[in-house]
């Protein structure tokens, strides 16, 4: 069964990516995690996302396509990236979510994917 691990980050998390003092630890942690998923043979896809300031939303309002600057949710924490893993059940997925590098304010949401066929 495939699960998405959606990594939500606070503004400090996004800031750490480019902070000369913090970025090394930030990226090494994430890469080590990705490596662990690959070595376990359960990694099925995913992506790190650029900062929410780079987001654009598209929606229909009164039948008119509306394009707008900014992310969908106007919240402090934002989606920073996601992993898709294939594991037997929720407990294993939660186990892997719990192994994501610990950073202040990071929350990993575990969602089962719909089957693909």
């Amino acid at each position: 069964m495939n699960y998405s691990l959606l990594v939500h980050e606070p503004p400090e998390g996004f800031a750490a990516r480019t902070d000369p003092e913090l970025q090394k630890a930030y990226w090494e942690g994430t890469m080590r995690y990705l490596q662990a998923l690959r070595e376990a043979g359960i990694f099925r896809g995913g992506a790190g996302l650029q900062a929410p300031s780079s987001a654009t939303t598209v929606r229909y309002r009164d039948d008119k396509l509306q394009v707008q600057d900014g992310p969908y949710a106007d919240t402090k924490d934002q989606l920073g990236g996601f992993f898709i893993i294939e594991v037997p059940n929720l407990d294993v997925a939660l186990e892997w979510a719990g192994r994501f590098p610990r950073r202040p304010g990071v929350v990993v949401e575990v969602r089962p994917n719909l089957p693909q066929d």
């Binding site: 059940n89 929720l90 407990d91 939660l94 089962p112 089957p115």
Partner: protein, 408 residues
């Protein structure tokens, strides 16, 4: 053998929950398993009276239910998220089990699923009562003071989550067992807690709930005999159940523990509870339920003509406060302290509790009222009114009302 409706009803009563647990553990879909089994019983009601009772009724029912589950998949009635179910059908484990003499009891796995951290905490106890014991949603709704429709929704949401998120039907690995077991114990205790000594439990709905919780605790202990906390929970309930006959006077009025006549308690029940607790303590893994049972054991000692050892009870409550940090334990400690060291000490202990934590807690106000009776009747009356306002149990409210009327 002729198969009457009564025979079928008996089999339904004795086997339904084990059959459901067995099907659910293999299909991963609790709701569909319940539906499939209900269908199987409907077929049994039609065919058994004509064709006679099958040699192994449970195996027969499993075979029919399994076919229903497969048909459900084929017709797309069961949504495609039920991938684990399909996996199981491929493995054919059920056919194998249907052929063997007995089928394994999977109710322990079902309990762990019901109290899984991924399940809404408010749904865990109701789900366990319904899935493991078969209590109907209306009865559960009544005990939890919610509308039946709302309870039905809460239950079906939880079942959908089990299926969609593929919560595994497993007894957690030993590393995770203590915390996961604690969730199971808490869910059972929550059902029982609605009818403990502090609450009269005179409402019939509550009584049914407490018996159901008692049954769950017994089942859990039988399935996990080596877990001292499971034994502790059962011992705690056994003490309360043993004292139940003394909990009401001849008119059915609630009597607090201190006014109960110990000769009406079941000495045999108390003896069994103590024996179970002593065995649990041998494991040397003391937890909150063994502590609670030890406290109840101190109270039950009066059955043998002994005095209540309030110093010991206070000590147990202090240990409990460190373990749970729950308001109930702090209030109970204050009550024990008042018995041991006097009203002043008890009141001081109550005053030390942060009001936001205890303001909505009935037992806090009831104790406060009790301790203030002689010293400050006016303040006591106010506390009684506060307690009655928060009280959900009719007999208990009546008791508080009587106490209020008797104030000097």
């Amino acid at each position: 053998m002729p198969a009457t409706g009564e025979t079928i009803a008996r089999i339904a009563r004795e086997s339904t929950r084990r059959l459901v647990a067995f099907l659910a553990a293999r299909s991963g879909d609790l709701a569909a398993s319940e539906d499939a089994l209900a269908d199987a019983f409907a077929v049994a009601l039609e065919t058994w009276p004509l064709e006679g009772l099958p040699a192994r009724p449970e195996a027969w029912l499993l075979t029919v239910a399994r076919r229903r589950l497969i048909d459900g998949h084929r017709h797309g009635e069961v949504r495609e998220e039920a991938a684990p179910a399909l996996r199981w059908l491929a493995e054919n484990a059920l056919a194998e089990a249907a052929e063997s003499e007995t089928f394994p009891d999977e109710r322990l796995k079902l309990m762990f699923v019901c109290a899984h951290p991924a399940i809404d905490p408010a749904a865990r106890t109701p789900l366990m009562l319904q899935a493991v014991l078969g209590l109907d949603a209306a009865t559960i709704a009544e005990a939890f003071l919610v509308k039946p429709a709302a309870m039905g929704q809460r239950l079906s949401r939880a079942k959908a989550k089990i299926r969609d998120a593929a919560i595994p039907f497993e007894v957690p690995a030993s590393m995770r067992l203590p915390e996961r077991l604690d969730a199971v114990l808490q869910a059972i205790y929550a059902a029982y807690g609605l009818s403990r000594d502090e609450v009269a439990g005179a409402d019939p709905g509550r009584r049914e709930l407490s018996l159901a919780a008692f049954e769950l605790a017994g089942l859990l202990h039988r399935l996990l005999p080596e877990e001292p906390e499971a034994a502790g929970l059962l011992a705690l309930m056994m003490h309360c159940e043993a004292r139940r006959p003394g909990r009401q006077d001849a008119e059915g009025n609630y009597l607090p523990l201190s006014e109960q006549d110990p000769s009406r308690w079941s000495r045999e029940g108390i003896w069994q509870a103590d024996r179970l607790l002593a065995r649990a303590a041998e494991a040397r893994r003391l937890g909150r339920f063994q502590l609670e049972a030890a406290i109840q054991s101190c109270h039950s000692r009066r059955a043998h003509g002994g005095e209540t050892d309030w110093a010991a009870i206070t000590t147990f409550y202090e240990a409990l406060c460190r373990q749970t940090r729950a308001a109930g334990a702090w209030v109970a400690r204050a009550a024990a302290l008042a018995q041991w060291r006097g009203v002043e000490e008890g009141l001081r202990a109550l005053d030390e509790l942060p009001l936001p934590v205890v303001a909505d807690y009935q037992a806090y106000w009831a104790l406060r009222a009790h301790l203030l009776r002689q010293r400050d009747p006016e303040a006591a009356a106010e506390a009684y009114r506060q307690a009655m306002h928060l009280c959900r149990d009719a007999a208990m409210r009546e008791f508080l009302h009587r106490r209020l009327a008797e104030l000097p």
